[in-house]
């Protein structure tokens, strides 16, 4: 069915046809026609943010917590450039996002017109694909293709730049939701031969491990369920990247905790010593591998990934399987059941004994304090007091983010919104708002740092306006703690500009925004204060004063191997100062 309508109407109609109920945006001259259409309809809810970066991260939080696509809308020029960080963030974390920007009229493009920026040029390297719409005839197909590309294969952000004159022009709209405009058709199903070979390797494994990542969550609930079946079927231990937390439950008995730079001792040593590694939807990021030449030196590596460029990018694997996690695991489980392999029970038992030995190191132990709140303790209490609830956690970037990953335990996917690949401070508050708007009845907490929270603090106003009762739980250590820790490790503890001076009074700041502020600085008061935070049905800034100089352990210093890990309970300040060699210092 086709209908005549303006370009601006087409934008709204395409959103409706794609099932979009919420978008995040900010108006300006070049998108006024689209805002005018938004005003005249009820189906799509527009959430007005306070900065376009906030719109982008809110769309990401919405997307990650629902499995749906996030949509953001911004004007030309500064609106579009403000979106760049969020687009890059979504690209690195494989978050499906459609961003619509206004552009100066086609007749003015290239003239340095008011608020003109080469948006498609600027965003080309930070989107999966982008378009400048040149003709009204092309608009419907591009809009729908944008959704298809953002959500299929390896998800990612796309951007559609629409000149203002095209928003006003009238053309023919067709719902081409299920038509492909380009030849883009990522392979979902893997070849049977690869699946059978994987099953052979896994069946013969004596010291296996499943290394899972964000791709399991990208693939969706079916992949998550199948992963859990696979673990039951094989009995293999499971670890996950930061991005994959929750796909396998942290309360599951095969769970080893997160791996990587700040992963657990047992997860990293099991990765180092395993004989068969099955990487499922993870990308051998440098936070995971540490020193490549010492990375899991004696294992056969199987890598399941939908993006062929992820395979053999950092680590050469023995068996690449290109396909969707859900589809591959389904075939793998079927092949395993058909073959009914006899596993080496004795070897597995020995492997688990070894793992239990590593677990016994209790690598997440930290020194407690009765006077001051330890940051790890704060997260532990937050977890204990919220675990029975329907809770979503977002984070900013820094030590608090890692403590959240270590001490908050996720039993379900899509519950942890964090900026992994880009590490964007300022991600958490808007992402929490996006999450809250998608899950109005749920408890949504942004585990924040005192520096990060100030990067998008203006979004507190968005939360107040839209009745999104998000809680920003600030681990206030008065430092850019992660930077300070690296300065201690690498630069002789010269704390150059990592002290957060002239902090605002977060309680009064919250009040100024019409939110609620809570301050807590004593371990004895913490539980009551957290309970109070949970009870308040409004946005809250929780200023949790924690000790200033705690370091985040375990840690594999950059340039080191998995078995060269620093543990919190047995490193001295001297060890910390000498842990990284000259070659490691140049790494990030």
């Amino acid at each position: 069915m086709t209908r005549q309508m303006t370009g601006a109407e087409m934008v709204i109609q395409a959103l409706i046809d794609q099932g979009v109920d919420t978008i995040f945006g900010y108006p300006g001259g070049a998108v006024l026609p689209i805002f005018d259409e938004l005003f005249q309809q009820e189906e799509v809810r527009h959430i007005l943010v306070r900065h376009e970066q906030g719109a982008g991260h809110a769309a990401e939080g919405y997307a990650r917590s629902t499995g749906k696509v996030g949509v953001a809308l911004a004007t030309s020029g500064p609106g579009a450039t403000n979106m760049v960080t969020a687009l890059t963030d979504a690209l690195l974390d494989s978050i499906p996002m459609v961003c619509i920007t206004g552009q100066v009229p086609t007749t003015l493009i290239g003239t340095d017109a008011f608020q003109e920026a080469d948006t498609v040029g600027i965003t080309r390297p930070c989107t999966k694909h982008n378009w400048l719409v040149r003709r009204i005839e092309d608009l419907p197909a591009i809009l729908h293709e944008a959704f298809r590309i953002a959500t299929t294969g390896r998800p990612g952000p796309v951007l559609v730049d629409i000149p203002k004159n095209i928003q006003f022009q009238t053309g023919t709209y067709e719902n081409c939701k299920d038509k492909a405009l380009t030849q883009y058709h990522p392979a979902v199903k893997a070849p049977d031969a690869a699946i059978r070979e994987a099953v052979e390797l896994m069946a013969a494994a004596k010291k296996p491990i499943l290394y899972t990542g964000g791709g399991v969550i990208n693939s969706g609930p079916k992949a998550v369920a199948l992963l859990r079946d696979l673990v039951k079927m094989t009995g293999f231990p499971v670890t996950s990247t930061l991005m994959g937390l929750g796909a396998y439950p942290a309360s599951g008995k095969n769970w080893l905790g997160m791996l990587g730079m700040h992963g657990t001792y047992e997860a990293n040593l099991a990765m180092h010593d395993c004989d068969v590694m099955v990487c499922i939807g993870a990308r051998f990021d440098d936070r995971i591998t540490g020193r490549i030449d010492a990375f899991s030196p004696n294992s056969k590596k199987i890598h399941i990934d939908i993006d062929p460029s992820s395979i053999n990018k950092n680590v050469v694997v023995d068996l690449p399987i290109v396909g969707d996690v859900g589809s591959v695991l389904e075939d793998m489980i079927a092949a395993w059941n058909a073959r009914k392999p006899v596993q080496d029970k004795a070897a597995h038992a020995a492997w688990w004994r070894q793992i239990d030995g590593w677990r016994a190191r209790k690598c997440l132990t930290y020194r407690h304090s009765a006077e001051a709140i330890m940051p790890q303790y704060a997260i532990e209490r937050l977890f204990e007091l919220t675990k029975g609830r329907d809770t979503y956690i977002a984070t900013e970037v820094g030590q608090h983010q890692m403590w959240a990953a270590q001490y908050y335990h996720f039993d379900e996917p899509n519950r942890f919104m964090t900026s992994g690949g880009l590490g964007t401070m300022g991600y958490g508050l808007p992402a929490a708002i996006g999450t809250q708007l998608a899950h109005p009845g749920s408890l949504v907490i942004d585990i924040a740092g005192d520096a990060s929270i100030q990067m998008n603090i203006q979004e507190l106003s968005t939360a107040v306006q839209h009745n999104a009762p998000v809680k920003a739980f600030i681990l206030n250590n008065q430092y850019m703690g992660m930077v300070r820790q690296w300065q201690q490790l690498l630069h002789g503890n010269r704390l150059s500009h990592s002290y957060v001076d002239s902090q605002p009074d977060f309680v009064r700041l919250a009040e100024a925004y019409g939110a609620v502020g809570i301050r807590c600085s004593k371990p004895a008061d913490l539980d009551d204060a957290i309970e109070e935070m949970i009870r308040i049905d409004k946005p809250v800034l929780f200023d949790c004063h924690v000790v200033s100089l705690a370091n985040c352990f375990p840690m594999i210093p950059s340039g080191k191997a998995h078995n060269e890990m620093l543990l919190g309970t047995d490193v001295s300040d001297v060890d910390i100062g000498t842990a990284i060699g000259a070659a490691g210092k140049v790494l990030v």
Binding site: R124, I311, A579, L587
Partner: protein
């Protein structure tokens, strides 16, 4: 746990492992000829730190707006595979073929070579041009412009000789390449 400072090598410098196998590869890339497609390809190379030795692009199918981009780049086999996969990720890219892997591909380039001079050197330039099958496309009393088509290495040799005969300037098209035999891309 023992931590020994300064012993580890960097984790990220994969490059050092197989220096011997680094060589140049000719990639043939079939793309939709839409605005920005060349910028996507070039941006991918510069953004990811791959080098481009030669790049040519032209529409080859006017009916469906398809272009062939021929890129010469150097790297070890894993880097070349990575480049090919990264190219494959671009939405307007239909196909990526490594002509160097496919074997002994046909590789041709066109050069326009301007030389100026009189007397002996002018005669020598003409003789060499004949030997290299270069055509005269412009002549004045004290200059020639030669057109030469051939494998890049032959053009290099011709140009090298012309330097001795008063080379003024040079324009090269970059590579056009096809696999031998009956199979298409």
């Amino acid at each position: 746990m023992m931590i020994v400072a300064g012993q580890s090598q960097s984790a990220y410098f994969l490059e050092e492992e197989f220096p011997a196998t680094e060589r140049s590869h000719t990639l043939s890339v079939l793309v939709d000829n839409e605005p920005g497609v060349l910028a996507r390809v070039v941006g991918l190379f510069s953004g990811r730190g791959y080098n481009i030795e030669s790049l040519t692009v032209s529409e080859i199918e006017h009916s469906n707006h398809q272009s062939r981009i021929t890129i010469v780049t150097t790297g070890r086999p894993p880097v070349i595979s990575q480049i090919m996969h990264q190219l494959g990720r671009l939405i307007p890219v239909h196909k990526v073929i490594n002509l160097t892997w496919a074997g002994d591909a046909l590789e041709r380039e066109l050069a326009l070579v301007k030389v100026a001079g009189k007397g002996e050197m002018r005669d020598e330039a003409l003789r060499l041009a004949q030997a290299f099958n270069a055509r005269i496309v412009d002549a004045t009393l004290d200059s020639y412009v030669f057109e030469m088509t051939g494998a890049p290495a032959d053009i290099d040799r011709f140009v090298g000789l012309m330097k001795e005969c008063g080379l003024v300037e040079l324009a090269r098209t970059g590579l056009a390449a096809l696999a031998r035999g009956k199979m298409g891309i």
